[in-house]
């Protein structure tokens, strides 16, 4: 299923995350005002058969770097992994696209507070707490899927 906007690549894909990160440079002042961050953040998308795909994001100062799709999670050494079924992720993305940003029920925090449909996990609660410490930065990043983000090199 595609949760793309027509301008964004399909979710989940390295290109989708690359497009979001590309938007960070265009809106640098907004991100700088949110403050710097330091977190290795992994998105885990689980399909119906239980197969996982992982995508890595590195929040480094005022920069956000997309590490693309990861073959394995462990070498990326994430501080926190946000995991959930493919359907929950795509519903979130569709909601962001529809509203120009997540509504209250579809923020990263709202979707994970109960441990379902998304859940934030980390072997270290201090690592997991980084998900809370940088919530505004992460949500701003994902909400940028609701804006017309041109695909690098596209159209």
């Amino acid at each position: 299923m595609s949760a793309g906007t027509g301008l964004l690549p399909d979710f989940p894909s390295s290109a989708w995350f690359d497009a979001l990160v590309g938007d960070v440079d265009r809106r640098r002042k907004e991100y700088e005002r949110l403050g710097f961050a330091d977190c290795r953040f992994a998105v885990e998308v689980v399909d119906d058969r239980g197969t996982c795909r992982w995508f890595g994001l590195v929040l480094d100062g005022y920069d956000i770097i997309s590490e693309g799709e990861l073959d394995r999670l462990e070498p990326f050494a994430p501080d926190v992994v946000l995991s959930g079924p493919h359907a929950a992720w795509t519903e979130m993305v569709a909601n962001i696209v529809r509203h120009g940003g997540a509504d209250r029920a579809h923020t990263l925090n709202a979707l994970s507070i109960a441990g379902f449909p998304l859940s934030a996990r980390s072997p270290d609660p201090v690592g997991r707490d980084k998900f809370y410490r940088y919530a505004e930065t992460l949500q701003t990043l994902f909400d940028s899927a609701g804006r017309a983000v041109p695909v690098a090199g596209g159209h």
């Binding site: 923020t107 709202a110 507070i113 441990g115 201090v126 997991r128």
Partner: protein, 373 residues
Amino acid sequence: MEDGGANLDERDAGRDRPLDLGWLRESRAEWGVKATPSRIGLTLKDIAVGSYGDIPDHPPRRTMAPRGSDIPDQVPDMGYTINDKAEVWSDNVMELYEEAVSRQWSATRDIPWGELAPLDPDLEHAMCQLATVLSEVEMVAADFPAKWLWRINHDFVEAKMFLCTQAMDEARHTEVFRKRALANGGGMGRATAIVEQFLKVILDAQSYDEGSALMHLLGEGLVLSLFRAGETIAPSEVEKRIFRLCMQDEARHVSYGTMHLRYRLQRDPSLAEDFHSYLDRGEELIGVLLSTPEVAEPATILAAGSLEAASELGSAATDVLRVQSIEEYLQRCDRAGLDRRGRIRLPDDMIAGTSAAPPPTPAVAADVVGART
């Protein structure tokens, strides 16, 4: 000749000296040691170079003189009572200070107050009551560090600086919840004795250890969970933003508290029982506090979305939040080096469904098995 503590003879002698900084030539300062800025600027970690990065476990003096400076013998004793690094330090305190400074926000500018619309009166009452409680509890997390700051040895200046940012954060939280209570016609709700009792235990703590465990780990940990939930129970975009921004700040404080306690216990494991005792008392109070109507009802009504739905759902409306918040608290205790599962003092109905819940008694277990077969 002395005048107000100053040596006037020395002042007179100074008049005859050439202005060539000659007195600085014998300085033990590390001339040539140069800090290099990282990509985000010149951070505290960047300047922790050479001997300047050495933070003594037991500073030899109790003075405000900057660590690494030449300190004459005549400096007065400032009477600091916290002179062991482990009493206040955490391995992440420098990064947390930098992060706090970088991620400050304004309750006046950064909340979309203009978008606040009239709410159903029940929801407005609930929101205002919750804002009243939060406005009440948040300020203790400024009062507590402020009470202890002047007692902390200046060689631990990075920890002191972090606690200053916490005081600023909490002032802003008090401000933003007070503003929310007054911004939409609801006004202030009701304060409670049990909330005040818990705050008093923190404020009256006999040691920084005791107060920090009660506040950073227990109190702020649970408030952090409430802020997390706040985004989902927020009646509008205004509260959603308030809760999310407060959540970020609170998570920093909790992160300090967790890692500080870890640092403390790693260096003196014999203190574990003391910390257990502090948390025993704190949990007993928190158990009552979280059940009091002034705290429990507004959260339940907001979570359910209406008074009617809240009446139907009862505590089920906040069950998920309860389990998550207690589980996260227990995990932070684990990380710090304290296993609270065997002795948690929260009431049984509050820990039901968590990893601290007591195993079912044989009779109950038999009932469960019987019901399944």
